[in-house]
């Protein structure tokens, strides 16, 4: 039996989808597996069990903790004697939240502290990127490995294949260019920099360009500020905040957009990059955290966050047929290199192997 613990299981969330996918793969391999949560989400109630029902340690071969935030789960695991694997999805540094929400900032401090405390308890830590793996080493974990999130498999494969076949070079004439940003509305995403870059793009290249921002608001004050900032920039009619959307709406947004822009400053993996690649969408991103690692050469990476440089990079890709084609082809190759199709299977193999080793040791 390999059970997973997660503070709360959300749909349309990278950690939530990863957890569900992993359970499905484990069960496909004949392994009994349940998901235990600290907080119940009504949307996923049927998929989960409360933490209070977690069986005795002796009855579980392996516990996998999906770690991305602070939770009572850490304290519980400290008290128990489980064979533990920490699947680390990154804890955003508190500094990003501090100006916006003190309680959230504190929560991040505690989360990172908890992650460090579990280092002596875990027999293995799985990071979704090399960037995250280095963080785990700094937190004291001795045995670490990198495996991309298994939910990326489904998300990239679900890309509308007809869109892939029909997407054509939009032509060098920049007219009402559609930018896309996908990700939680959290301060580390620096969505304000994408908006400033859009302003530069409208002034320099295409006065009718627009930006669609898709993502669940994570910090109320930050979301409010983004909306006020769009007014300050004179972009209230050009930037639309769509919030969290269904999978079909998300697919549609990828299909209808002409460029994906990420100015995020801190990412543990950045699943939307994979989705953009799978949708043949050219990408311009800032050279921060795990973005260069995931993107490889499948997009334009920009040093810093100069809006003019970002705007000009977008214009260059969209104006140059050959460059556009190179970006799209590189995305396809990068997806193959990431080998996301086998990521879930690799993780399941590793978990089963770890469970067997630990069982033999005891």
């Amino acid at each position: 039996m390999i059970d997973q613990l997660v503070p709360v299981l959300h749909r349309r969330d990278a950690v939530g989808e990863h957890t569900l996918k992993l359970r499905e793969l484990l069960r496909d391999r004949g392994v009994n597996s349940e998901i235990y949560v600290e907080i119940d989400d009504p949307e996923t109630s049927k998929e989960t069990l409360p933490l209070s029902l977690l069986p005795q340690s002796l009855d579980i071969d392996l516990v996998v903790y999906q770690m991305s935030t602070g939770s009572k789960i850490s304290a519980l695991l400290q008290e128990r004697d489980d064979n533990l694997v920490v699947n680390y999805h990154n804890v955003t540094p508190a500094e990003y939240f501090a100006p916006w929400d003190n309680a959230l900032a504190l929560h991040q401090v505690i989360a990172r502290h908890e992650c460090g405390l579990l280092s002596s308890r875990a027999s293995l830590a799985v990071a979704v990127s090399e960037f995250n793996r280095v963080e785990l080493e700094e937190l004291g974990y001795e045995r670490t490995v990198v495996i991309p999130p298994s939910s990326a498999v489904g998300r990239s494969a679900s890309a509308d294949q007809s869109a892939r076949l029909t997407r054509r070079y939009p032509g060098g004439d920049l007219k009402a260019t559609r930018w896309l940003s996908v990700g939680r509305l959290a301060p580390n995403k620096a969505i304000e920099d994408t908006m400033t870059a859009l302003l530069a793009f409208r002034i320099r290249h295409d006065p009718d360009a627009t930006l669609t921002v898709i993502g669940k608001p994570a910090v109320a004050s930050y979301t409010r500020a983004l909306k006020e900032y769009s007014v300050t920039l004179g972009l209230s009619d050009a930037v639309s905040f769509e919030g969290s959307v269904s999978a079909s709406k998300l697919d549609e947004a990828y299909r209808l957009s002409e460029v994906f822009v990420s100015t995020s400053e801190h990412e543990g993996f950045c699943l939307p990059l994979v989705e953009a690649m799978a949708n043949d969408l050219p990408i311009v991103g800032c050279k921060n955290a795990a973005i260069p690692e995931v993107l490889g050469d499948a997009g334009t990476l920009v040093d810093g966050n100069d809006p003019v440089v970002i705007a000009d990079a977008v214009a260059r890709i969209l104006r140059d047929d050959a460059l556009w084609r190179r970006h799209v082809d590189a995305g396809e190759k990068r997806l193959a290199d990431l080998d996301l199709e086998s990521a879930g299977a690799r993780l399941v193999d590793l978990l089963i192997q770890t469970a067997q080793v630990e069982r033999a040791r005891h």
């Binding site: 508190a94 501090a98 100006p99 003190n102 302003l199 006020e228 809006p307 990079a313």
Partner: protein, 344 residues
């Protein structure tokens, strides 16, 4: 103008690109939208650092739960203070009682552990208290802001005025008085008026709340700050301000704020400095605005006589109503211009 910066493909940026100063302005503008108001003055950052230091020093033995839900803004300050004191006393009293009669050098050494623990508890309580205070202040600031300005976007309806008609009058006023210091235009739009003033030899600076207009002004060679006149005029790093031109921002301000602003300018302008007010006549102010914009405008339009009164009461002298190029008569015009100089 800006120095050249390379794009990812190695191409240099254009010479008319916005300056680094404007990009810095944009970043600071966004930071000001955070509850703490500025990246350089930040309650929460201090707490985060304190938390980190605290957790580093007392990771386990402190017992400091540090759970965000522990502190709720509903808690009364008196109750919290009592709890802080009680925690400290509870922690220290048994130790003091126990040790008082039997202390020795050996005991001092072994007593350091519980002392550390007590210090940890005390720090934890202090952090809790400060965090409570911060949460309360943030909550109150938010409430006040909502009362003062329930729809912060309303200013966006107020487009910068077309000031071509007033260019000669304002330039002549400044040329005659030669104010000592930079000429600041609040709500400068794309900077046409300041361009003319710069052309007759004055150092100028624009203030514009809309970044797209500010961007265009910088492309025309005007230095622009994005924000409010108060933020600029109260910035200790700012050099002497010889003249302020107010236009377009007035309708979005309650009268009390407007009076306070004129008093502030009277105090901060250099001796003999000028204040020039370019405003719309009350009956023409909302002409052309849609119904929503008219209803949401928080300010009340004032007549030129009222501005003259406010300037006079705030210590300005030589108050004059300037004529625009196409002025026919005071009461037929859509706009008016009132100017005065500081007495000092």
């Amino acid at each position: 103008m800006s120095k050249n910066r390379s794009t990812p493909d190695g191409a240099d940026r254009r010479n008319d690109d916005p300056s680094e100063a404007l990009l810095k302005e944009l970043r600071e503008t966004f930071r000001r939208l955070s509850p703490q108001g500025s990246a350089s003055w930040n309650f929460s950052e201090a707490f985060t650092r304190l938390d980190r230091e605290f957790l580093k020093r007392w990771p386990k033995e402190s017992g400091h739960a540090a759970s965000p839900e522990e502190v709720r803004v509903e808690d009364s300050a008196r109750g919290l203070q009592s709890r802080v004191v009680a925690r400290v006393q509870d922690r220290l009293r048994p130790w003091v009682d126990e040790r008082a009669g039997e202390i020795s050098s050996k005991e001092v050494s072994s007593a350091l552990d519980p002392l550390n623990e007590a210090v940890g508890e005390t720090l934890g309580a202090a952090v809790d208290a400060l965090r409570f205070l911060a949460a309360r202040v943030e909550s109150l600031e938010h409430d006040v802001e909502r009362i003062r300005n329930p729809f912060p976007i309303s200013e966006a309806f107020d487009e910068p005025y077309d000031l071509k008609e007033w260019t000669s009058a304002v330039c002549n006023w400044l040329r005659d008085r030669r104010p000592d210091g930079v000429v600041v235009h609040a709500r400068c739009g794309t900077g046409e008026l300041l361009g003319e003033i710069q052309g007759i030899g004055f150092a100028v600076e624009g203030i514009e709340s809309r970044a797209d207009l500010a961007w265009k002004a910088t492309e025309a060679g005007i230095r622009v700050r994005i924000g409010t006149i108060e933020e600029v005029i109260c910035d200790e790093r700012h050099g002497p301000v010889g003249a302020v031109i107010l236009s377009g921002t007035l309708a979005s301000r309650p009268v009390g704020d407007l009076v306070a602003l004129v008093e502030l300018l009277s105090d901060r302008l250099t001796a003999g400095g000028s204040l020039v007010v370019l405003a719309r006549m009350p009956d023409s102010l909302t002409r052309g605005w849609d119904a929503v914009a008219s209803d949401l405008a928080p300010g009340r339009a004032l007549h030129p006589e009222t501005f003259e009164f406010i300037l006079h009461r705030s210590g300005f002298s030589g108050i004059t109503r300037l004529a625009g190029d196409n002025s026919i008569g005071d009461h037929d015009a859509d706009m008016f211009c009132v100017a005065g100089v500081t007495k000092r």
